[in-house]
Amino acid sequence: MIEEPYRWVEAIANRREYIEAQLASGSPITALGYRDGILFLTIGQTRQKIFEIYDRIAMGAIGHPGDIERLRMAAIELASTEGFTRSAADVSLRRLVHYSLSPVMKSAFEQVYGPPYLARMLFAEVGERPSEDLFLRVEYDGEIATKGATYAQVRQDFAVLSGTRQSGELMEAFLKSQHAADASFEATLNSALEAWSIGHMSLQDSDSNELPERTAVVKYRQEQLANRGIEAALLERDASRAIRFRSLPDTELRSLIND
């Protein structure tokens, strides 16, 4: 089959369609850079979706748990080995994703007789200043989307991950107008919750490609939070500690929500 170029292209297209369908129900994850760090947030999942990778790096992912675990372990192994042999300062998200994870995911995706990675991942690395924060989204085919710390585009202090492209774009459109790099923790938390709600609403109703009314978003968020939990973690900018990752319990966050 792969001897014939057309069949190969067709096989890849089918595979892409299959994976997109599998990922389409994936609940959104947001990573928002603010004054004191980066906030990762999602709502109401049965299994953990936000993970610590290394001192200054965290990851959020949707997809098949088995594939997410393999990629997560690989990322931790690579970062830990580098941190041990050189130093923690030499562990870089850019190198980790560009040189190691992306090529592996690309070749798994294109080898049509082997299984692809059924996962979409969002990485963030906290810097000394908001302008040094790095956000990278890695697709199942190894494609990398960068938000922040790039050369060619206007930088953004956030990144999102969602099941569908439309859902992600709506979240980005909302955050572009609502979120600022120097925001407080409370403002950031509320932006993240609203962005999640907008993304999740889009997954339920894929016909609309415009931002919903604010009142509708608030109502949706209240409904969701009534019976689901918040999963959140921080990468703290505070340089006095080597390990910046900290999980935030649901109870610590609820009192900070504006209604």
């Binding site: 953990q48 993970f51 610590e52 990778i53 290394y54 393999r70 990629l71 372990m73 690989a74 931790i76 192994e77 690579l78 830990s80 080995t81 941190g83 041990f84 042999t85 190691s100 994870l101 090529p103 592996v104 070749s107 798994a108 080898q111 082997g114 390990i243």
Partner: protein
């Protein structure tokens, strides 16, 4: 099919959270082979553990105090007078070392990464027993070097256990990796006999037993003990009165590790020791 440049396979050590195994698989952790040498049969002649230093630790009201002098020696020569032998491994664990610095610091580095690697891969903190055992295993793996006459390390490990009941825990080891839990105090290094005497005396016949001491009293006893050790042991720096070099004193408590600041050590020293 060609293997990808990054081994993302099913046999990764991440599944077990074993960092030393990962290092070994990448050839980054050397282990000595215990092989018969010309001196086989008389290893005592080759192996002369000097552990030239003094490290002590004891439980007091505020947790565990760990103190170490600052001198590093090579034979009769003082090579460094600001060595730090009391090393923080994670937020609640301290490893204090007597022995060959190169091996000890490498061991501390492996240990630090092991605990974090375990937490990150397994999504849970390693238990205190697991941590204590991890150090024991590193010592055991290092014993080949000890037998070759290089790389002996005899550490103390202090940590705070939250489960099942919150309490400080203190362990000392021998060079082969045997671990012993200390109920009150532990000391290691060439100056330790003198220190052990003082701590035993204080604990039984002092003004209060060690576990009832408040912070300043504990620091005072640690300084007196190190000063006494330095009196007879040339490898222990004690307190350098001329150079104003004080021992490193760290405290492990429920809240984490605090380093007792040098100006406060100086004040306690001036008031109760000098």
């Amino acid at each position: 099919m060609e293997r990808s440049p990054v081994a993302v396979d099913q046999n990764f050590s991440g599944a077990t959270g074993d960092f030393p195994a990962l290092l070994r698989s990448k050839g980054l952790l050397a282990s000595a082979v215990i092989a018969p040498t010309q001196d086989a049969g008389t290893p005592q002649k080759v192996w002369q553990p000097t552990e030239a230093t003094t490290i002590l630790a004891f439980k007091f009201l505020g947790g565990v105090l760990v103190a170490g002098d600052r001198r590093a020696t090579a034979g009769n020569t003082v090579v460094y007078d600001r060595a730090d032998k009391v090393l923080e491994i994670d937020r609640h664990s301290i490893m204090a070392i007597a022995g060959v610095p190169a091996t000890a610091w490498e061991m501390a580095r492996v240990l630090e990464h092991s605990f974090q690697y375990f937490r990150r891969t397994q999504l849970q903190e390693m238990s205190v027993d697991g941590k204590v055992r991890a150090l024991s295993k590193l010592l055991r793996d290092n014993f080949g070097f000890v037998m070759q006459g290089v790389g002996v390390v005899v550490p103390i490990f202090a940590t705070y256990d939250s489960h099942p009941k919150p309490e400080p825990r203190l362990y000392f080891y021998d060079a082969m990796g045997a671990q012993f839990e200390a109920t009150d105090y532990a000391a290691t290094g060439s100056g330790s006999p003198a220190v052990r005497g003082i701590l035993y005396y204080e604990n039984n016949w002092g003004a209060k037993p060690l576990h009832k001491l408040i912070e300043d009293e504990a620091v005072s006893i640690a300084l007196r003990a190190l000063d006494t050790a330095a009196e007879s042991d040339t490898s222990t720096g004690g307190v350098d009165r001329m150079g104003r070099i004080y021992p490193i004193i760290k405290i492990v408590s429920r809240e984490g590790i605090t380093t007792f600041p040098e100006n406060k050590i100086a004040a306690v020293f001036k008031e109760t020791v000098a």
